[in-house]
Amino acid sequence: MIKNPVFTLAYRCYILAFFLFLAAPLAAAGMFAFNDSLFPALPWQGFTLDWFFNDTEPKLGMFHDRRLLRGLYYSFIIASCVSLMSVFVGTCNAFLFTRGQFPGKGVLYILMVVPLVIPGVILGISILVLASTIANGVEEAYGWEWDFLRPGLPLVVLGQFSFVTTITSLVITARLQKLDFSLEEAAFNLGAKRLRVLRTITLPFLKPALIASGLVAFLVSFENFNTTLMVVGSEAPLTVTMFDRMVKVGSTPVLNAVSFFLMIGSGILALAMVFAQRNSKSE
């Protein structure tokens, strides 16, 4: 390698600048949560935790803001459903594509990856259109009111699930491909039945990937905005609630407080994921 000190220094500075660029908006979003001011802007008015815990207007803290808390609650419900469903289907897909032999496997595999690159807005509207068409049809023909097909929590879950499953499938497939087939054969050889092999060998081996993909699914669902916006009903999750607030009220430091809270939450999840991955590597 050519070791040119000026070049090396410039390269390092570039990398540093890049990470500052990455960190800047996050720092800005988090920092103003602690500014004792009605606006998330400089100058700095002193440190406060009011935007988290104060219970009176105008400085209503996030833990006393009904609508934000409700958004958080809905986000939590949605993310839990999405991660459970997508990990289950992702696991099935992983087995299907690593173990199954059937015609058209390559095409179906690409089809599995496609939802990741379809714009979220379009995923949202296409599901909205289908669900509404069915709901209208059923209503017209039988007079039944199928509310779960109207914009609302079930549709949000389905909309997010439709592309999150691609992520979980890819993560779990990658892990399953690393499983040495002879481990399972050894278990059979030692007298285990099929279900026991699955329970004692295959699933423990997949566990880190199941946890990691579940966490990713949870996060992606929690953060999602584009798809959600198209199919959201009256039960708005946190991102949509924040967006509404931003557009209608303008930016207030309580949004910074929520941002900070979410960043900490994601950080903890991220650490948990790194931990899960590390455990899998030591094996």
Binding site: S182, F188, L190, A192
Partner: protein, 369 residues
């Protein structure tokens, strides 16, 4: 005699390809049996059929006299040590060994007792609580065997388990495996492509090639009385020439090699079809005596072949040192030479006389085509 494993005309076809072709053999109880062959010869397929991971196309496999073809792998009392051992990384040593017992529904106390017992028999009494990643290569080997032996199998299959070890460890594991087999007194079937592993450990060896058994016999028989050209070439080292019969069909035959050596050999693997037959001639280096050349080149006498040549190079390897001799008609012949006894100061360029007995020159009819 009681046989632990009997295979009767076992065949396995994958589409058009025949992986195992009409293989029959019987293994007496408590013996160490090896299946030796190059990679792709079908030995792994044969073993997977015995373990139940592959179905047979035709033929029968019997364990202790009972056919096991209808039994799934988890019901056969044939245990297997996998090529990369397949120890379960998510369990510790104790749980690995206890796995099979738990599948059988053995009680907790008995599992403890049996695992401890088998750990002692493989002389690793204290590793029960260790993780698999904490074990050395040799220890893993023994745990993999213990995991099978705790179930008291009728037959233990070993699929090249030494392949992943380094040379030194492999040498010591060979002896250890043999000792373990004696200790457990269970039938071991050992699959390998390494002839020295097979020869050192086995009571009997089957040499396999292209899905067929070429020869079954003791290591000594394979080495000294190979039944086919393939066995002669695969087991042990040999000078190998192709040539043509000049005279004779049974017993001593006069042959001329393609390179121009003329020598007298012994027809092996059945009689040859007379003069003009294409043959392959095998002579092991250790049966060729090297002496410094004196006077005229000696004539072919006393059941010996003689060849005069010049030392081309010395291949020093301790007790297995060889000398490469270029004969007068420009053929290279490899011969052992002793570090003691007058020839230890040979140098390239020295003239030497080689001699070897007619009996040690095996001539096989060459495969047609």
């Amino acid at each position: 005699m009681e046989y632990d494993l009997t295979c009767e005309s076992v065949c396995k076809k994958f589409g058009e390809f025949t992986a195992v072709d009409d293989v029959s053999f019987q293994i007496p109880s408590g013996s160490f049996f090896s299946i030796l062959g190059p990679s792709g010869c079908g030995k792994t397929t044969l073993m997977r059929m015995i373990a139940g991971f592959e179905s047979t196309t035709s033929g029968d496999i019997k364990i202790k006299g009972n056919s096991v073809l209808s039994l799934p792998p988890n019901k056969r009392n044939v245990k297997m040590v996998f090529q990369h051992l397949a120890l379960f990384p998510m369990m510790n040593v104790f749980e690995n060994i206890a796995y099979g017992l738990r599948c059988q529904g053995v009680g907790k106390e008995e599992i403890k007792r049996k695992v401890q017992d088998v750990l002692e028999r493989v002389s690793l009494p204290d590793v029960g609580s260790k993780e698999i990643s904490q074990l050395s290569g040799g220890q893993k080997q023994r745990i993999a065997i213990a995991r099978c032996m705790v179930l008291d199998p009728d037959v233990l299959l070993l699929d090249e388990p030494l392949g992943a070890l380094d040379l030194k460890l492999r040498e010591s594991m060979k002896i250890e495996l043999k000792l373990l087999q004696h200790q457990f007194n269970t039938t071991f079937i050992y699959i390998t492509h390494d002839q020295s592993e097979a020869l050192v450990m086995s009571d009997n060896v089957a040499v396999m090639n292209q899905g067929r058994f070429e020869q079954i016999g003791t290591p000594q028989a394979l080495y000294h009385k190979p039944a086919s050209a393939f066995v002669a070439g695969f087991v042990g080292d040999a000078n190998r020439w192709s040539g043509r019969v000049v005279e004779g069909a049974d017993g001593a035959v006069k042959v001329q090699t393609d390179g121009g050596l003329s020598l007298v050999g012994t027809a092996a693997g059945g009689s040859l079809s007379g003069s003009g037959t294409d043959v392959e001639i095998f002579v092991r280096p250790e049966f060729i005596t090297v002496a410094r050349a004196k006077g005229d080149a000696p004539a072919q006498v006393n059941g010996q072949n003689h060849q005069r040549g010049v030392v081309d190079s010395l291949l020093f390897n301790g007790a297995n040192s060889r000398v490469l001799v270029r004969s007068t008609n420009n053929q290279l012949i490899e011969a052992d030479f002793l570090l003691t006894g007058g020839t230890d100061d040979l140098k390239p360029g020295d003239a030497v006389d080689l001699s070897w007995s007619i009996e040690r020159s095996a001539c096989f009819q060459a495969a047609r085509g």
